[in-house]
Subunit: 422 residues, 2 copies
């Protein structure tokens, strides 16, 4: 008997019929002899509807009240799911984040889980119940107020509960059957990734793959929780995320996939005085407005001695207030001007194997060159290469790299991917 945590998103519980289908799966898992904890999101568009209601009342809602409001959504889905599971002859009890012992800090709207104290969940399981837990929410124990974890919060709840209970696996159910080597809408020959390390999944999530929330992967890595991303519409296995991809590391794949992101913009600051401390001044001003800087490039120009250009990327949503910040410091720092460009895209190649395999970079840039794609910025980690390109060339870039690293699936091929020794 193992202890399984299952997480179902809003689209899996969008109406009564969908809730019953999920309940059937949950009940069947328990009847196979497992202890089952289910983490559930709000039904369908409930969260957006509640946000609309708040928007009809005020444009500046109190964050505390907004969090109380939004947690109503999971309260509804969790109790309905508990009723539905009971209808299949399996005892079930639902628990709010607070009742489940999900302890967070006091940052309303994007609280971080500090600890999970799942006494009630354990007790419910020991009494033969399926425990149903509201995702996305916790409690700030100082004020005794409810908090929400922000977008993707239910994934994090599930992994945190799994860690707190020492679960054997945390299954994240979604409407696709796993994480793919690239977005199948761009690369129809993309393959499902069968196994990935936390690091690979972190890089994929950070670079734009939207299946699994970044913070849930971080939590899984910290506590060593195996995560299984799979479809709620089938029984076939999805993508398994764990410490190492396979026992036999010789067989481990070099590359796990190609991620892309259209949501960033590029700011270029022109003719910055090339003296110590100017970059620090600029990025201090940007940090003050809480902009999330991603790639940074600085080049000293031989043609203009003593001056340099600095470019960086950031989410488009952070653009406006970052430009205001730059305007404020322009006189003090003494740069000539700045430009804003939202027509860029980022493509990233991720793979734990690349750190021990030379030649990956060369193949990567050759593929882009052969496809006629100009690279504007480059950033790398041990297991990732990312570049910024023109937005209208992004899809071509994804396809070119996917093909160059032999990630395209072939008919009848049973092994989905394998190391190629490059």
């Amino acid at each position: 008997m193992s202890l399984i945590v299952q997480k179902y998103g809003g689209s899996s519980v969008s109406n009564a019929a969908a809730i019953k289908r999920v309940a059937k799966r949950v009940a069947a898992t328990q009847q196979q002899g497992h202890d089952v904890v289910v983490v559930v999101s709000a039904m369908g568009d409930t969260t957006d509807e509640l946000l609309d209601l708040a928007g009809a009342i005020t444009h500046e809602p109190s964050q505390r009240e907004l969090d109380i409001l939004l947690t109503a959504g999971e309260r509804i889905s969790m109790s309905l799911l508990a009723m539905a599971v009971a209808n299949y002859g399996v005892q079930a009890q639902s628990f709010t984040g607070q009742q489940a012992g999900v302890i967070t800090d006091a940052v309303y709207g994007r609280a971080q889980i500090i600890d999970v104290v799942p006494h009630r969940i354990r007790k419910a399981l020991d009494a033969g119940n399926v425990a149903i837990v509201a995702g996305f929410q916790g409690v700030d124990p100082i004020a005794n107020d409810v908090t929400t974890l922000g977008r993707g919060g239910s994934d994090t709840t599930a992994v945190a509960i799994a860690a707190g209970l020492g679960a054997d696996v945390c299954e994240i159910y979604t409407d696709v059957d796993g994480v793919y080597t690239a977005d199948p809408r761009i690369v129809p020959t993309a393959k499902k990734i069968e196994r990935a390390t936390y690091e690979e999944m972190l890089e994929l999530a950070a670079c734009g793959a939207k299946i699994l929330a970044l913070r849930s992967v971080e939590y899984g890595r910290r506590y060593g929780v195996p995560i299984h991303v799979r479809s709620s519409f089938s029984q076939s296995p999805g993508t398994y995320v764990s410490l190492s991809t396979q026992e036999d590391s010789v067989e481990a794949p070099i590359i796990s996939g190609v991620a892309h992101d259209r949501s960033e913009a590029k700011i270029t600051i022109v003719d910055v005085p090339d003296v110590p401390g100017t970059a620090a001044d600029i990025f201090a001003a940007v940090a003050e407005v809480s902009a999330n800087i991603d790639m940074i490039v600085q080049n000293v120009s031989a043609a203009r001695p003593g001056l340099t250009d600095i470019s960086f990327t950031l989410p488009e949503g952070d653009g406006k207030r970052t430009l205001s910040a730059l305007r404020r410091i322009q006189g003090d720092v003494g740069f000539a001007s700045f430009q804003y460009d939202d027509q860029i895209g980022k493509v990233s190649l991720v793979g734990a194997g690349m750190k021990s395999h030379p030649g990956v970079s060369a193949r990567f840039f050759a593929a882009l060159r052969d496809a006629g794609i100009n690279v504007e910025m480059i950033s790398t980690s041990e297991i990732r290469i990312s570049v910024a390109v023109r937005a209208d060339q992004l899809d071509d870039a994804v396809r070119a790299i996917h093909t160059a690293f032999d990630l395209d699936s072939h008919d009848g091929e049973a092994t989905v991917y394998a190391g190629t020794g490059r």
Copy 2:
């Protein structure tokens, strides 16, 4: 400065515009220098919609889960109202029943309030906030589970919170401007009752007046909380419920009003052996199925020595299972048959003054006789006379009694009602 508890029902907060209107009134009350606690019901039909959702999942929902589900409704309305009040420049914080310290027993669906421990509310008030509290809900502190108080529960929450805080008044806002001497749809000349005692209001509520929930009046009486029933659409005073109607009791009215109830049915058990213990056997069986018996009449018939008929009234909803219970004991108790009659109506005359004024009964029955109405059952308390009549004569009975006790309003009359010395 006084401490005012205000309760707004679902129809007062049915949409964003209605919530803003309530918020304006709340903010104005606080800006007049009062401490304000607001108890709020779920928006409009939210509770019924949640019940429908549960009905689409299962016909036998767990009561625990149903309570968790239903409490989502007030969570939504209370947080939206807090946002709306803040929009008028007044600090506001919302609290669930649990956060507000509403402690109940563990009877899901119709929990009783055991205690109110309003530390957080007091603290929020002291910090200059309007405190907004979810009605209809509390917490069972043993299991640490949420409970609901049943129909009319928000009225009870409001009065209980007012008692716990020692509030100066508990204002119950509704869509009519007070409690009337009779239902104005039946008696167009009915007058608003300006003042009533708890006892009178209890009898009126128990006899079918639907403005104020019975349990909230009981709670108010026990803790001496003045209750003011008034309209959320006007500033004029409504009906004030307190310990005594007026200081000068000579001026106090004898009669407060005429209530009616169409929701009861009558069961008559025919030819019951007239020996000790049969009535006890019958009502034990009825109690076992939790039927709420109201009036009981037993008559020994001279024509059938040793046999008697027993009739009683009960809510129509309790009829089916009561008949089943009677069928089960028929052989043991040895009665001949039983009849079910849902074509009855109950009319009640209520007034604290009647206990010290003789002649009220005589005038009551004379009025019914003059209107040609046959009385089927009678029950009385110190301050009430109730009779069961044919359902199709109920409206006539209400009007006849209302007129006989001079309750009809007259044009230009400033004093709404006064003692007449009858």
